[in-house]
């Protein structure tokens, strides 16, 4: 789980970040001057009511969106004005994503799903298979490598998605409502897995409504109306 970007200082650094959207004739101010640091090895939960800008913030940290103004740096590297090509490469090497709906490719096996980002990073086929197998074992699915998503439970699918997010050894793991589609017992398993990942050195930022998941984080950031109000 070693990160790709080394160095000192906060791993995530946002300064006066604003994000506006055009919604028909209206202008929505999703983020209104957010300033935030996340230290290396931290485990941060972003919480707040729906529409407060949590996911927008996560998207900016994950370099899949760009701020209207302000700066975003990941491990000291400015990412707020990257070209699409640069941003894609940056995400591939440094950021792991976990989504509420897992988004595994249904026709691929668990092993092939985990190997997908590695193929994109031009890792050799043998190395991909070895690492994907290790990652599946890490998330407790060593015996489910050949299973397709439809043959796995929701919790198992989310664990495959987590293994996929770790494929290229990311600096930062971002999760958007990772327990949102899981029952309480399975959600607890995912929470435990995140804690283990963090204990093993992965920096995690998670957006959630799940109190248990938020409580498991080392730090909780509260948001309201596009602003950080606490944390």
């Amino acid at each position: 789980m070693s990160p790709n970007i080394g160095g000192q200082g906060p791993i995530v650094s946002l300064r006066d970040v604003r994000r506006d959207y055009a919604l028909g004739a209206e202008r929505v101010h999703a983020l209104q001057g957010v300033t935030l640091d996340v230290e290396r090895g931290d485990y941060v939960a972003i919480v707040g009511p729906s529409g407060c800008g949590k996911s927008t913030l996560l998207n900016l940290i994950g370099v899949i969106d760009q701020p209207t103004s302000g700066t975003v740096a990941i491990a000291g590297k400015r990412v707020d004005a990257m070209s699409d090509r640069e941003a894609t490469q940056f995400r591939l090497r440094n950021i792991g994503f976990v989504f509420q709906r897992f988004y595994l490719l249904p026709i691929l096996s668990a092993l092939e799903n985990v190997a997908l980002p590695m193929a994109e990073a031009k890792v050799s086929k043998a190395e991909r298979a070895k690492r994907a197998s290790e990652l599946l074992a890490y998330v407790g699915l060593g015996n489910r490598e050949r299973h397709r998503p439809s043959e796995l439970s929701g919790g198992e699918q989310q664990r495959v998605a987590i293994a996929r997010s770790l494929a290229n050894g990311p600096t930062l793991l971002l999760a958007d409502e990772p327990t949102g589609e899981l029952d309480a017992r399975t959600g607890t398993e995912i929470i435990s897995l995140f804690q283990r990942l963090n204990a093993d050195g992965t920096t995690i930022v998670v957006v959630t409504h799940d109190e248990d998941l938020a409580s498991a984080a080392r730090r909780k950031i509260h948001m309201r109306d596009g602003r950080v109000v606490d944390g």
Partner: protein, 394 residues
């Protein structure tokens, strides 16, 4: 991996993919048939002309062979002139006329060729013997069945029917010596052949004349040069080389080619739209999945490649299936078209040429690439964050 992903995407909705492939196959079959039709008649006509090795044909000035009743007089003198050219190997004069076979009250009409059996290039003997004697006649199956005659039967044959006096200019007993197949003849044509002097002897017109000369040139000789030489030496004839004949046929078949071109283009466009629609629908359905792929680091170019591959895969599968379907439908359509009266049996409307198949396949693959471009552009342009937000709301 991209090929596997494209395949995965297609397999996900098997029934839809199969229907799209079938749709493309129908379009491909139509396209192949139209490509075959556009070139088939021309090529089979060329093969027909070359089949007996006569590279040049001489017709009365300003006419095409057997287009009119006009004839070239002085066959002996013409042959003598032609023989002075060392590039000319063989000369086959042919006289054409209408004949009537009288059987009791019946009068069956047909066509007759007066030929020299040693150099003729108009028919193939199927059974019996050729017209080696002045009273011999060979006929095709259509004529024989019409008059109910067989080899060995004697026929009362007349020429030069005058409808006003209801008389014939000549009449003679001829013996059927053989069954033949006329190379340039139509299915429904009652045709026969006899020695040229026999046919001449039955008519009112002057002797020593021919409707057509077929000329074989020496191997390696330039047929066009020989053609020019003949036209200089014999001002009362039009010399037609195979290239000229094909050019004339091309001109007459331009309607067919235009029709084939338009129908082929429509087929290609329908196939293109079908693939574009299917792949676009598939991309729209997978917007969230594509956004996730982009989020985890899959590049735009790879998304484009995957989507274009889907289009190409459908087009390729449809094209291969369509090739087989096209050949079957071409045979069926040929049987319909070849029943058209007066067409030479040997003319193949849908002559299969590997080049035509490759052309159709190539066009479909290019169209498949083209069909994938729009959905690929859509997939690559999906705003990742916005697509994920929409998916979450959905």
């Amino acid at each position: 991996m991209r090929l596997a992903l494209a395949q995965a995407s297609l397999i996900r909705h098997r029934a839809r993919t199969v229907l799209a492939v079938l749709g493309v196959a129908v379009a491909a079959a139509m396209l192949l048939d139209m490509v075959m039709l556009a070139t088939g008649m021309r090529e089979s006509f060329r093969e027909l002309l070359l089949s007996r090795g006569f590279e040049l044909r001489l017709a009365p000035k300003g006419t095409l062979p057997f287009d009119t009743d006009a004839t070239i007089p002085g066959v002996t003198a013409v042959i003598a002139t032609l023989r002075t050219n060392p590039d000319i190997l063989e000369i086959s004069p042919v006289l054409g006329a209408s004949i009537h076979i009288l059987a009791g009250n019946r009068d069956v009409s047909g066509s007759a060729l007066g030929i020299d059996p040693s150099v003729q290039g108009d028919y193939e003997l199927l059974s019996g013997r050729d017209v080696t004697t002045p009273d011999a006649l060979v006929a095709n199956d259509h004529l024989l069945s019409q008059i109910g005659a067989r080899i060995g039967d004697t026929l009362d044959v007349a020429t030069g029917y005058d409808p006003q006096t209801r008389t014939y200019s000549g009449q003679r007993k001829l013996v059927v010596t053989g069954r033949v197949k006329f190379i340039y003849g139509a299915n429904d044509q009652s045709a026969s052949a006899m020695r040229r002097e026999t046919l001449e002897g039955m008519g009112r017109q002057a002797r020593d004349r021919a409707s057509l000369f077929m000329i074989r040139v020496r191997k390696g000789a330039d047929a066009e040069q020989v053609r020019d030489w003949i036209e200089r030496q014999l001002p009362n004839v039009t010399a037609i080389s195979i290239a000229t004949a094909i050019a004339q046929v091309d001109e007459r078949l331009s309607y067919f080619r235009q029709l084939a071109f338009i129908l082929g283009a429509v087929s290609l466009f329908v196939g293109f739209l079908l693939v574009t629609t299917l792949v676009t629908v598939s991309v729209n359905e997978r917007a969230g999945e594509i956004a996730v792929m982009r989020a985890i680091g899959v590049s735009r170019s790879h998304v484009v490649e995957q989507v274009v591959l889907e289009g190409v895969a459908i087009s390729f599968a449809g094209a291969v299936l369509g090739l087989a379907l096209g050949l079957v439908t071409a045979r069926y359509l040929h049987t319909i078209l070849s029943a058209f009266p007066g067409l030479a049996m040997a003319i193949d409307f849908f002559l299969f040429q590997p080049k035509a198949a490759w052309s159709a396949l190539g066009l479909l693959i290019v169209s498949g690439i083209g069909a994938g471009i729009y959905p690929a552009w859509r997939a690559a342009s999906l705003p990742i964050a916005e697509s994920l937000r929409r998916e979450a709301i959905a």
